[in-house]
Symmetry: D2
Subunit: 148 residues, 4 copies
Amino acid sequence: MDAMPATPFRPRSSYPAWTTITTRWHDNDHYGHVNNVVYYSWFDTAVNGWLIANGLLDLHDGDRIGLVVASGCDYAAALAFPQAVEIGVAVARIGTSSVTYHLGVFAEGAEDAAAQGHFTHVYVTGAERKAAPLPEAWRTALSAIAAR
Amino acid sequence: MDAMPATPFRPRSSYPAWTTITTRWHDNDHYGHVNNVVYYSWFDTAVNGWLIANGLLDLHDGDRIGLVVASGCDYAAALAFPQAVEIGVAVARIGTSSVTYHLGVFAEGAEDAAAQGHFTHVYVTGAERKAAPLPEAWRTALSAIAAR
Amino acid sequence: MDAMPATPFRPRSSYPAWTTITTRWHDNDHYGHVNNVVYYSWFDTAVNGWLIANGLLDLHDGDRIGLVVASGCDYAAALAFPQAVEIGVAVARIGTSSVTYHLGVFAEGAEDAAAQGHFTHVYVTGAERKAAPLPEAWRTALSAIAAR
Amino acid sequence: MDAMPATPFRPRSSYPAWTTITTRWHDNDHYGHVNNVVYYSWFDTAVNGWLIANGLLDLHDGDRIGLVVASGCDYAAALAFPQAVEIGVAVARIGTSSVTYHLGVFAEGAEDAAAQGHFTHVYVTGAERKAAPLPEAWRTALSAIAAR
């Protein structure tokens, strides 16, 4: 893709947390590269995976879940199966009950991001899924991966 | 989802073109509503479907394809299989070789949008996929669904 | 695809229940036709959609869900976005707690099936998800769409 | 899932080739485990990935591609994001232009298969995608991972 973004993408050093994701045959679309939609599945995977790995999100016994209220992505270079990708995660903003993450998509080992995005979760509790203030343990853990 | 957007979403009347999409069992995620990623697959489907239906994009004999360089979505209300969705499409901006679309996601028959997004295609030609100015026929057709 | 199945596929008349599904841009894979995996998402959608529409499966207040224990598909002809597909559903066998469905995939309006498959659900109840005998209401409804 | 298959699944030792795949947030469906459809995307990924890694399938300069004409899967135990899976691949039968693969799905490090499947590719050449006899290099490479 030759449509370079006006501003350079954030560097690897701005992301404190990382997840490696293997691509799949059908991540590629008709044009032979990873479909733009798939990047968002990587965002979801990287953020929720980090929350689970750090003991915050518990799908079975937890008292809160994250609902996505906004997301976006800018794309600079194509990716394709079978290459693996590395997703960088950083916390850009912690609100009362919401968190905005910055995400960077890198081909495995690549210096420059192929894409970068953002993703805002509102954390809700209960059967009626009402936004609820983030507990202190969440704030502490999230602050540890603040965007640099 | 109780995190209402600060600004009301665009109304149905702002979208000149429409596509109805049936939802699928696995559009729903663990939380029992359509996963945020799926909305972007609807954007891709609505825009490319409109381009094909209007004789602009031809996957077999055409000379140009659209690559996504930016997208984004704001979510206000949950959707769930088995309900169908209606996607409104409007052209927000026509550049030399790029087009930005506005998209609205509505539960079938609903007055208010459940989500709204944007999506920018750069149209490229040739094996090396270089951005190329949009032909007049494209400009005319795209102008006919300009955002109202 | 020129690999025709040894036995002709089941005709439209063998399927008592039908669902129309719209295809999506990224149902197509690198080769420009609907990826083989996507057909299984249509099976899931057609069967669960039928169960919901007929008041058997209730994702919010129901006491049983269906888990897939076996599935399969034979493919004869390619399909591609943006065409819609019609999925025929028939009940091939009702066991104590399981049901095997036959499925036929037809391009919209086509006489011959593009693919046909089977799909076995075991119906389970409770938090431990134990197989449980099908209630009489289920047997009656399922018998009404027995394979012809 | 308590519906155990009548026959034990093939052991790890029957699969000569292996691929590790990371799961994704939305592999899980409403019921909180990996949706049955996703397993087929792993089959596609493991087989095509092996063909590419072994220099047989070349998506850009190759002269033949594989089209799926049949597939199937039996499921014994649930899997769920965020666990990774290991896919075993074995060649069960080499025909003139077709190959049937056996596939085993194992939770990372698990002794017993969670699911097992089969998958038949017909290899075709040219714009009209006609079945063509497999070259000797393909037969040699495929024979090296014959089912044990």
